[in-house]
Symmetry: C2
Subunit: 221 residues, 2 copies
């Protein structure tokens, strides 16, 4: 079957979208990417539907075939970014070292994921507090979930076995907050060189060390 095989291979290599669903999915992703591009140095609230559509290479009215509003696009962006973040903790969990090595490994994982997906982390950290819209609510909700998962992870440690869940949540929140501020530092790092990165990473490690050092002395209430 010469012809048909050749045709199939060609179509696979060039990855041309064939089905209508594929095409639609592709421009939808195009809109998300376009928005993420424009968000490099501005806030989501200052983004216009027309702008995003133009950047994605479609006419403004076609936007509505994919999202009912910019807010909906924003929420989709939160979901996409959160998928990246969850990929990160999956990586962090997969190499379960202990002691201070765990801190070094975790910060290392954070560092690499931030550098690999700067736009997603920039979006999350920027929009987290900037308003009261659906986007902010979605981020707040997801981060709370994230913090809760971390609390469960913490509970597995020997020293934290008999902590109350309330105390574990407090500690998890503190860690998440500290890590998010590290993310911001990485995104705003100037100059953009290896030494600046190393300094930020080391500071992040020291922050975590200080927090963990307090654990053995902790008495609840």
């Amino acid at each position: 079957m010469g012809y048909s095989d050749g045709a199939r291979t060609l179509s696979v290599v060039s990855t041309e979208p064939v089905t209508r669903q594929e095409r639609k999915q592709r421009t939808r992703q195009g809109l998300l990417d376009a928005a993420l591009d424009l968000l490099a140095d501005r806030g989501f609230a200052s983004l216009s539907l027309r702008e995003v559509a133009k950047q994605a290479g479609i006419v403004p009215t076609a936007f509505y075939r994919h999202f009912a509003s910019m807010d909906e696009l924003g929420v989709a962006l939160v979901e996409e970014s959160m998928r990246t973040l969850r990929g990160m903790i999956r990586s962090a969990r997969s190499n379960p070292s202990a002691y201070t090595d765990m801190i070094r490994a975790s910060v290392r994982t954070l560092y690499e994921h931030v550098r690999a997906h700067e736009d997603h982390f920039r979006f999350l950290t920027r929009e987290r507090y900037s308003g009261a819209g659906p986007v902010q609510r979605a981020i707040g909700f997801e981060l709370k979930l994230f913090s809760s998962e971390l609390a469960v992870d913490l509970a597995r440690f020997e020293v934290l076995r008999e902590w109350t869940t309330d105390d574990l949540h407090m500690m998890a929140d503190l860690i998440v907050t500290a890590m998010l501020s590290t993310v911001v530092e990485l995104l705003e790092a100037r100059p953009r060189d290896a030494e600046t990165d190393r300094r930020i990473v080391r500071t992040a490690e020291r922050r975590l060390r200080l927090i963990f050092l307090g654990v053995p002395s902790w008495r609840s209430g």
Copy 2:
């Protein structure tokens, strides 16, 4: 007390502006207040010059008599908000208790100042990370200064006497970050009752306690 007292009281109460400078200063403040009002549930970037002018009760073009652009208005807002924040640490420094009492007193001071100037704190925490404009740079600069001052304050403690300045800055940053997240929690507190406030305040105290508990065990490097 009859007439004269009554007349004086009246003139004092009505506080009519007389001089031209006073009038100008008053509408300038009106613009700042108008912006702050509009910022209750939106980001600064989504604010328009016309909107602020209307809220302040002046015509759009009169805006330029006070600020060359919205960005300039924003920077002025940062300065005003920072004055509030500095007023807070002055209060905190004025009752110099020690030990865990210091933590309770500091958090108490923070709590009261946040509740007394919600709009200023909301502005600072919201705009801190949301973009790359002059406003964000101004906030970043001021907060870095703020953190440095805290580092100096920390150096006065017995246990922290021989810490390196680098370690002190690391700890100060961690504390500022934790406190700013407490500010956000207070501003977003739902429901708005005394018990929610108490819970947030107690969590803030526990965060600080955990951080300070690590101090005696700290070894630099």
